[in-house]
């Protein structure tokens, strides 16, 4: 029997970037909130020993404890989905700050094309360009409408980037609040090569502060030291923007916000199309609580938001056989591949140094920045060279054909450790009718609740895009004054084992039509107006970018929507 707690105006489920932003904005507006987080509290002091590749990068210290809960996966609905028994393809976070703690900090804005992808694709190429089964849909909001929120988020997080307007991306109302990161020799080689080919390289917008910075909330943080421990690690300097060093302290300082850690939400309680609160378990004691609230805001990771909706029987589950229902619809991922390597026999680079978002990139082949008339795919990829800091266990580069162990392996991997610059491709992932999320019929979590099941595979669209991108990356590598270059241009089936990207999107998408979206553009549920579902679950497709910048903007806009909803007390926010 759950202990019933006093009612609060707003309960927020999940204390990562989304939860932190909502908590801070509502708290500043004078609205009392409770934030629930299944994992533990964190602070920068916890990263005293963070320069530990084994513990953090290979033993996943900051990641979700899969012994308690995982997901299941299959490529197609003909297969039996099996549990992800250890971390691989993506790294689910856990604890205060969520995945916002272990991210790299690459911080983009999705393109104007992304938000109106269906309309703009049909305008330029006709409806026939969209293949059968591809559920391309507009987001219900335009880039211009979202621009002020991008700006607000970037000023909070102290995003570092080039001054001036990049012609390949949406128009900015203001420069980045902090100047760009420092340029390494590898970055300069990439930039020069890209320029020579007529492209438009720019410094990756970075949440690793390029300089000391005080944000509009009064939070001061020191500059990144390029120590080379970002992705999979927490930042002991607080130089990498994360919720723990930005929005959460702002929320807590107001006195309007209470954070309860080790509190795992089991279900959203609802009746007659309205949520009444949530039920959660203290993960240490097993004690159950009911937290009544006027408004329930789901801000956990995209996959967990979708699972909680399905477990709570909130919203209509997606049925791939009919294409109806919305919870679980339009799951997408990220398509990486087609990278090229520039190999240098005559020099070594300081590749042990770096930062998660230190790099240069081009968008000349992203979105619809290039003509797809004669191409067998839509959208594209961000092509970049980044220097995140090579760590020695995971980085053992050898030329093609080298054995994987033994004397020759040792010799080559030591020789090439600091001699290879890799140009990467971060490709978009478009939604298909048969890619979706639902509850697994067999596998359960530690509480006996079904795991979330992912049904997903790469498509010809993806394989063709990668083949095309490889021609571009090798062309750039060939201009980088290397001794030799090499590229790979194929991907086969999606495999959950090797790490690829933690950019899982969709499953409760936003839009203007309750027939194909779970929420409106404030991420307010059509089927329960006092529930907001905030996260990458809202993306109708995934762009050729890291998602956090766009998520931040959507969260700031949603915070306004929630505030408005609290004021008017009912109805969908327009």
């Amino acid at each position: 029997m759950a202990t019933k707690l006093p009612k609060v105006p707003v309960v927020i489920v999940g204390m990562g970037w989304m939860g932190g932003i909502i908590a801070a904005e509502l708290a500043k507006a004078g609205i009392k909130t409770v934030g629930l987080e299944r994992g533990k509290r964190r602070k920068t002091e916890d990263y005293f020993m963070v320069h530990d590749e084994l513990r953090y990068a290979l033993r996943y210290d900051l990641m979700q404890d899969l012994s308690r809960e995982s997901i299941t996966f299959r490529n197609t609905s003909k297969m039996t989905a099996l549990p992800m028994r250890t971390h691989g393809s993506f790294l689910l976070g856990e604890g205060v700050g969520g995945s916002g703690v272990h991210w790299n900090g690459q911080n983009y804005r999705f393109l104007p094309y992304d938000f109106q992808i269906r309309t703009k694709t049909i305008e330029r190429y006709g409806a026939k360009k969209i293949p059968d089964g591809m559920q391309l849909q507009d987001w219900g909001i335009t880039y211009d409408e979202l621009e002020p929120y991008f700006d607000k988020y970037e000023k909070m997080a102290g995003i570092s980037g080039d001054k001036g307007q990049n012609p390949m991306v949406g128009k900015r109302s203001a420069d980045f609040p902090v100047g760009p990161m420092k340029k390494t020799p590898g970055i300069k080689l990439f930039e020069e090569a890209a320029k020579k080919l007529g492209y438009h390289p720019y410094m990756v917008p970075s949440a690793n502060l390029a300089d000391n910075y005080t944000n509009p909330d009064g939070i001061s943080r020191a500059a990144c030291q390029y120590c080379g421990f970002c992705e999979r690690f927490g930042c002991e300097y607080g130089a990498k923007s994360d919720p723990v060093v930005t929005v959460l302290p702002v929320a807590e300082k107001t006195g309007n916000f209470e954070l309860r850690d080790l509190s795992n939400v089991m279900e959203v309680l609802h009746t007659g199309g309205r949520a009444t609160g949530v039920r959660y378990i203290n993960t240490l004691t097993g004690e159950e609580f009911e937290q009544p609230a006027d408004v329930v805001v789901l801000t956990s990771y995209a996959l967990h938001n979708v699972r909680l909706l399905l477990l709570s029987k909130l919203g209509k589950p997606y049925d791939p056989s009919t294409g109806t229902g919305v919870i679980g619809r339009n799951y997408a991922y990220q398509v990486n591949g087609g990278g090229a390597q520039a190999i240098y026999e005559d020099r070594e680079f300081n590749l042990f140094a770096g930062a998660g978002a230190l790099g240069s990139c081009i968008d000349d082949f992203n979105g619809d920045n290039f003509d797809h008339s004669n191409l067998p795919f839509l959208h594209g990829a961000n092509i970049r060279y980044t220097q995140a800091g090579f760590r020695p266990i995971q980085t053992n580069p050898t030329p093609a054909g080298t054995p994987k162990w033994g004397k020759e392996f040792k010799k080559q991997s030591l020789h090439y450790y600091n001699r290879i610059l890799t140009i990467g491709v971060q490709g978009s992932s478009l939604p298909w009718r048969h890619h979706y999320l639902d509850l697994d019929p067999t596998y359960k979590d530690v509480y006996g609740r079904p795991l979330l099941r992912i049904t997903y595979d790469f498509e010809d669209q993806d394989r063709e895009m990668i083949k095309f991108m490889a021609t571009k990356t090798i062309a750039i590598a060939n201009e980088m004054k290397a001794t030799k270059t090499q590229a790979s241009n194929t991907i086969s089936n999606y495999d959950i084992v090797p790490y690829q990207s933690t950019h899982n999107t969709g499953g409760a998408v936003m839009g203007t039509d309750p027939g194909n979206s779970a929420t409106n553009t404030h991420m307010q549920m059509w089927d329960a107006e006092n529930v907001f579902v905030i996260g990458a679950n809202a993306f109708t497709h995934n762009s050729g970018y890291n998602p956090t910048g766009t998520l931040g903007a959507l969260a700031y806009r949603a915070a306004e929507g929630i505030t408005k909803y609290m004021q008017q007390g009912k109805g969908m926010i327009g």
């Binding site: 250890t86 340029k183 030291q225 060093v245 302290p249 140094a353 162990w405």
Partner: protein, 264 residues
Amino acid sequence: MAEEEKDQQPKQPNGPQDESRRKFLKVSGAALGGVVVGGVVGGLIGRNMNQPKQTQPGTPAKPGQQTKDFNQALMYMNAEQFTLTEALAERIFPEDELGPGAKALGVAFFIDHQLAGQWGTNGRDYMMGPFQKAEATQGYQAIFKRHELFSTGLQAVKNYAQQKYQKGVPDLTPEQLDELLTVFEKGQEVQINGLPSSVFFNLLRSSTLEGAYSDPLYGGNKDMQGWRMKKYPGNQMTYMDIIEKEEFVTYEPASLSDHMTQHG
């Protein structure tokens, strides 16, 4: 050893490690001022100011000074398993003119210690059933744990050596060991608990590299020699001064234990 290596290397960019660290702490401490996010930096500065600099318990021995390494004992394996592991790991990462191999780096101790801990018992992995046959894209689905895979893998190696060469593993020539490992890597001849031997081989290979290159606190990478071979600086607090440099910079590596001694 450490001294010799140091002499062969170009001088460090920032002077001694301690100094660059202190300089960084001063700079960032000043920048941080009294805000809420002092974190580790704040903690270190505080301790620095309050404590006289002195050698504390746990300080590693000075280079050249021989001390007993109490970490070099076994938590999980028996003596035979340890010998086997050492022999196999040495072939994966052999000693050569570039530097020490797995044996000298303490890799077998590393693997032993890891198998004894939560990784060896899959403590943070999803281990609930049912256990079913998987497609290659679905990853490891076996019911048994890493330590069991490793132990049975060693037994399979022993059996294979006996059957193929009529010898114990320690009596095999390096060439025969390589031949054996190649068979195990391919995974077509030998099955281990119903899995191809390549699953065991991959575990052996990845844990050997982990033992060669992880922080010495785990028992491998002895005296940071793995890092030195790879010109990897280990645990440095800042690369601010070299991040833009064209020329390659070699550091005397630092380990996490430095946090305990200089500033702990």
